[in-house]
Structures are given as C-alpha cells and as structure tokens.
C-alpha cells in the first residue's frame, strides 16, 4: 500500500489539478482519495489498488464539483467545462521541436520541454472529462482497457472510444500549435 501510494501520489495530484485547477482543492482530493482507499480497501490485494484508487479519485473529484456548484456560480462555470471541439483557444507560442521525447539535456531543450509540457497540460485540461479520465488512466497510469472500464464504470468499447477521441483531439490541438512529438 505504501509503495503504491508513493508511486501514484504525484500523478494523482496532477490529475486532480487538470480537473479542478486549484492546488489546495487538488491536494484535498488526493488526501481524501488516499484515505478512503486505505480505510476501505487497505486489506485488498495490491493489484486491485490502481483500479480502486482511480475510481475513488474520480468520484472524489465529482463530489468536489457538486459541492462547489452549490457554493459558487463562478466555480459552476468552470466545473461545467465540456468543450465540444477544443480548437485553438489561446495559441501559445509556436514551437519547432526536433526531438522532444528525449530528456532535456541542455538549457534550450529544457525550455522547449517546459513549453511543450505547458501546452500538453493545457490541452489535457480542455479535454472533455470522460476523455481525459480514460486517456490518463490508459496511457499515464498504464491501466489496461478492462481496468479502466471498471474504474470508470463503463464498457471497454466506451474506453477505447474515449481514448481514441482524446488522442486525436490532442494530436490535432498540438499540431495546430506547431508542436511535434
């Protein structure tokens, strides 16, 4: 359990940040999620932790949305963000990158890497909620289709559809900004 939480806590924080865009709220969400996992499922087999934790995390994010909807109209607008086709909102500076997959080894590459990261995170935030969840679970958390479907409470076909749409949306958005991965 300790090893699992340690390996997942930073990614979970980033996921929460993508969803709620508030550091304090994201930290609270991760803390609540870890606590719920430990209290309710601490005696489960380790291989069930990723699916259970993602399910708890997504539910905790939704609970946060519900609470803030009641509290503030301003947050309601943010929580209801479901852009249909997120084409260029505010184009960041166009980047010409030759090989961004390698770890940045020079200051210039580090700057490019940071700019690419900013653009990617920005586009991931803009994804529809379900697409973002499916994409991050499949490709960042390294969960298989069945695990992702179980965590999201939907069919495996839906997961594949969400992932495919998210991937194409990200590719199109990044390409429009001149970013090549």
């Amino acid at each position: 359990m300790s090893h699992f939480l340690e390996s997942v806590e930073r990614r979970a924080f980033k996921q929460a940040m993508f969803a709620v865009r508030d550091e304090e709220a994201a930290l609270d969400i991760v803390q609540d999620s870890m606590l719920k996992l430990a209290e309710k499922y601490g005696n489960h087999p380790c291989d069930e932790f990723p699916m259970l934790f993602q399910r708890i995390l997504q539910n905790t994010i939704r609970d946060y949305y519900r609470r803030t909807k009641v509290r503030s109209m301003w947050t309601t607008v943010l929580s209801a963000l479901t852009p249909d086709n997120e084409e260029d909102g505010d184009p960041l500076e166009t980047l010409e990158t030759e090989d961004t997959s390698n770890l940045a080894s020079t200051p210039e590459k580090q700057v490019l890497q940071a700019q690419t990261l900013t653009a990617i995170e920005d586009e991931i935030r803009k994804l529809p909620t379900r697409q973002r969840e499916a994409f991050l679970m499949r490709y960042w958390e390294d969960m298989d289709v069945a695990e992702t479907a179980a965590a999201m409470g939907c069919s495996e076909g839906s997961v594949k559809t969400h992932c495919s749409r998210a991937t194409h949306a990200l590719a199109a958005a990044l390409s429009a900004k001149g970013i090549k991965l």
């Binding site: 359990m1 300790s2 939480l5 340690e6 806590e9 930073r10 990614r11 924080f13 980033k14 550091e23 930290l27 991760v30 803390q31 870890m34 606590l35 996992l37 430990a38 209290e39 309710k40 499922y41 601490g42 005696n43 961004t100 997959s101 770890l103 940045a104 890497q113 940071a114 690419t116 990261l117 990617i120 995170e121 994409f135 499949r138 490709y139 960042w140 992932c163 495919s164 991937t167 194409h168 990200l170 590719a171 991965l181």
Partner: protein, 125 residues
C-alpha cells in the same frame, strides 16, 4: 505516428512535468500518504496451517461457510461432551454391577424388603 506512440510521447512529457511539483506540495502529499497508511484497514486473521519449515498455508473461508463451520464445531463439542458423560455413567454402573456380582450375597438379596429391614434393625442395635 500511431496512437500508442503518440500517447507514449505524451506520457514521457507528463512524467517530466512531475519533477516541477513544488517541494512544499510534495511534502503535503507525503503527509497525506502517511495519514492514509495510519488508517489502513488491516487484514482479518485467517486460518493458517503451518508447513514443515516453509512458511504457512493460508485458507480463507467465505462468511456464510464460517458460520456453518462454527455451528458444526459447536454441535461436535456438545456430542463429545454428551458421549463422555454417558461413558462415565456406564463405567460407574459397571463397577457397581461387578461389585454386586463378586460379592458373597446374591443380587436378589438387595431387592428383598425383609433383608433391607433386617439390615436397618441390625445397624440400630
């Protein structure tokens, strides 16, 4: 570029971004982790069968089966107690019987009312 290849590049970049999380945030995440671990639900003790120096074999039973096994164990205990008690009672009777049969007096003498009356009168004198 295939979807998987593209997703892999995205993943690499996102992982790179994890290094940028401020130390204060990392410390709070670590504290949250420790808090969660302090409240971790522990595994219920299970039936275990020790093996010859090679750890233990663990068996876990579903809840309904555990209840049935508990009731069966209780019934078995009650049957053993009843059997042991009956055995003791029969043994005592056997001892009395063998004492009667090995005595000089015939057993019929103890059923004779006059003999009993004679014994009481003799002890009174």
């Amino acid at each position: 570029m295939t979807d998987d290849r593209f997703a892999y590049r995205i993943r690499q970049t996102l992982n790179y971004g994890l290094q940028d999380i401020p130390p204060a945030t990392c410390r709070r995440l670590e504290a949250a982790r420790h808090q969660a671990l302090a409240h971790q639900k522990q595994t219920v003790p299970q039936w275990s069968l020790a093996t010859a120096g090679h750890g233990a074999m663990h068996f876990s039973f579903p809840a309904p089966l555990k209840q049935v096994l508990t009731i069966l164990a209780l019934l078995l205990g009650m049957w053993i107690a009843f059997y042991w008690h009956s055995h003791q009672y029969i043994s005592e009777l056997e001892e009395v019987d063998s004492a009667l049969l090995s005595d000089d007096l015939p057993p019929e003498a103890f059923l004779d009312q006059d003999f009993s009356q004679w014994l009481e009168d003799s002890s009174g004198e």
